[in-house]
């Protein structure tokens, strides 16, 4: 099934507008609330052979997509289309964070980021070589995690004092045990195979205040994908993500000791709720030195991640600059304190 949103005024194809949060018509400028968009203007067509291919309702062209794509543009006439059967049933997202950064804002934010690159070659910042910017909803699983931890540890408290010409070191040993309930809410893990996990982790955090119940119109005008991994498959990844958090919580509950060595640590983590959620990401394809660099931008906060090219000259300049000024400062201090320079 192919879905297109037709403007009640003029019949053009409407797309989601990140500034207003409404469906907006590119021809007449009409804006419609997503919650109240008239059902009659949603054009749905069920295609008997839709498992194979989709057709654009405007021009009849075949919509070519990859198997994971859920929202795209008609490659012929450019109309935003959603592939509804890939967004329903098991594949229906529960939540979505809509784009709050428009394409123009994303370009500006990206340029600003390249200018701030302190180690990037000069041409990287000045050159305007954004080849392509794609707004994409990336599938994530959000896990509410309930857990218990039971830890035992041997802790010591050491104090030392001097009596006469003897130094006494007293070590008190304690058996320490902590049992605790743990709860973590909406820990994300990206469910798309294409997306680099490390890159997606660095895009966090998203502001969950903007988390909305999923409605298809949010996707109009962007690319979207469906998940490649289900929530069971990704749970181990989320577990490995929160174990350091749990460890730091555990150690925060054991305080006042000189040393703590764990003798037993049992952590149980269960998923309580799982939400299939789409997060907004701007993918930026940037040409530099005949090489394409890919960056990702958080479509809600504007945070940019990705490996920029590094200028060896700038690295050396910073290193020498910092080392030389640190040396001068140390010399100045030693002169002030000791009265001697060399």
């Amino acid at each position: 099934m192919v879905i297109q949103y037709k403007c009640p005024n003029c019949g053009s194809d409407m797309a989601f507008d990140s500034e207003s949060g409404h469906l907006s018509c590119p021809s007449c400028g009409r804006q419609d609330n997503i919650e109240t968009f008239p059902e009659t203007n949603i054009l749905r067509r069920f295609d008997p052979e839709e498992a194979k291919e989709y057709h654009c309702e405007n021009c009849g062209a075949v919509i070519l997509t990859e198997a994971e794509t859920t929202a795209t543009h008609c490659s012929f006439c450019g109309a935003p289309v959603l592939l509804a059967d890939r967004l329903t049933g098991d594949l229906a997202p529960a939540k979505v964070i809509p784009f709050t950064i428009s394409k123009d804002e994303a370009v500006a934010a990206f340029r600003k980021w390249t200018k701030n690159g302190r180690l990037t070659p000069p041409g990287f910042a000045s050159g305007d070589r954004i080849k392509k910017m794609t707004g994409m909803y990336v599938p994530f699983w959000l896990y509410d995690i309930d857990g218990q931890a039971d830890v035992s540890a041997l802790a010591t408290r050491v104090r030392s004092y001097t009596r006469g010409d003897t130094i006494y070191t007293e070590t008190d040993f304690y058996d320490v045990r902590r049992e605790m309930d743990l709860s973590y809410l909406k820990v994300p893990a990206d469910a798309s195979e294409k997306m680099d996990d490390e890159l997606m982790d660095k895009l966090e955090p998203y502001d969950y205040g903007e988390l909305k119940d999923f409605k298809m119109p949010y996707l109009a005008g962007y690319l979207a994908e469906k998940y490649d991994y289900d929530d069971d498959a990704l749970f181990s990844r989320v577990e490995s993500k929160i174990v350091p958090y749990i460890d730091s919580y555990i150690s925060s509950t054991i305080s006042g000791y000189s040393t703590v060595s764990y003798t037993n640590k049992q952590i149980l983590a269960n998923k309580k709720n799982v939400y299939y959620t789409l997060f907004p990401v701007w993918m930026v394809y940037y040409d530099f030195d005949n090489k394409e660099h890919t960056f990702a931008m958080n479509g809600q906060t504007g945070k940019v991640v990705g490996k920029p090219p590094i200028s060896a000259f700038k690295v050396a300049a910073w290193f020498i600059g910092i080392a030389a000024s640190a040396f001068a400062v140390l010399k100045a201090i030693s002169f002030a304190v000791g009265g001697v320079l060399w």
């Binding site: 006494y168 049992e179 940019v304 100045a332």
Partner: protein, 260 residues
């Protein structure tokens, strides 16, 4: 970047300024500084030592003097040294001096600071100089030990009174190492973070309302006590004595002596 270069330039100017204000006025013209009564040095060694001592004496306005003797016991080196200096100071009209006295017969050595040298070469610094020259003395390399006395004392006297001149923070190699390490750490972390930093923390997804400690135990088990002696600072060799005083002529001095 521009701001940064400016800062570097200012630092450099500051450095030049500090270099240029070193050094102090010359001392009175003293002709003889080495009194080798025990004939331990050759004439060329004496000439060389006179030259080195004269150079450093001018630098500090303090004369570096050497006195050797071979008197048999009973011999009191502090008194011997005090009497010598009372006479010398009157003859030469100079109260600021560093005086190394040694007696080859009793194997005593005593280093004293008079006048301004009493503070610029205090007891602590005297002992540090002795630590360095005693091994040479024990080997019989008296010329080397005397030269070392001049250069080391002169070096120590450049430092403000009260600070330890051997402190590692005053060593150029240490300062250089710290500076390079700092540059490496800063640039390394810039490189590491150039691709974007992880800004989620343990608190990002933490649900404080439903996380709590449900069981807590801190049970004392046992106690161990270990004892060790306060470590004694080992002296560089031989037994130490002295620690400053006043000469028969009423001149106070800092100092320290050893057997070698």
């Amino acid at each position: 970047m521009k701001q940064f270069q400016l800062k570097g330039l200012m630092m450099f100017c500051l450095l030049l300024f500090f270099i240029s204000i070193g050094g102090t006025a010359a001392s009175a013209a003293v002709e003889q500084r080495v009194y080798d009564n025990a004939n331990l040095l050759t004439s060329s060694e004496i000439a060389e030592l006179e030259a080195v001592a004269a150079e450093h004496s001018r630098k500090h306005g303090t004369d570096f003097l050497f006195l050797t003797s071979e008197e048999q016991a009973p011999f009191f080196i502090v008194e011997y040294m005090g009497d010598f200096f009372d006479t010398w100071a009157v003859e030469n009209g100079q109260e600021n001096a560093v005086l190394l006295t040694m007696n080859i017969a009793t194997r005593d050595v005593y280093l004293a600071g008079f006048g301004t040298a009493e503070t610029t070469l205090n007891n602590q610094r005297v002992n540090m100089v002795l630590d360095r020259i005693i091994p040479d003395m024990q080997r019989g390399d008296y010329a080397g030990a005397f030269r070392e006395t001049v250069t080391t004392s002169s070096r120590y006297m450049e430092f403000r009174p009260g600070v330890n001149p051997e402190n590692i923070f005053f060593k150029t190699w240490f300062q250089l190492a710290v500076a390079l390490l700092l540059g490496g750490i800063v640039v390394g972390s810039m490189l590491y973070n150039s691709g974007g930093r992880v800004t989620t923390t343990a608190g990002t997804y933490f649900d404080g309302d439903n996380s709590r400690v449900t069981g807590k135990l801190d049970q004392f088990r046992n106690k161990t006590v270990s004892r060790r002696r306060v470590p004694k600072k080992s002296s560089g060799g031989g037994s130490g004595f002295g620690g400053g005083g006043v000469t028969g002529g009423g001149r106070s001095f800092s100092g320290g002596g050893r057997k070698f």
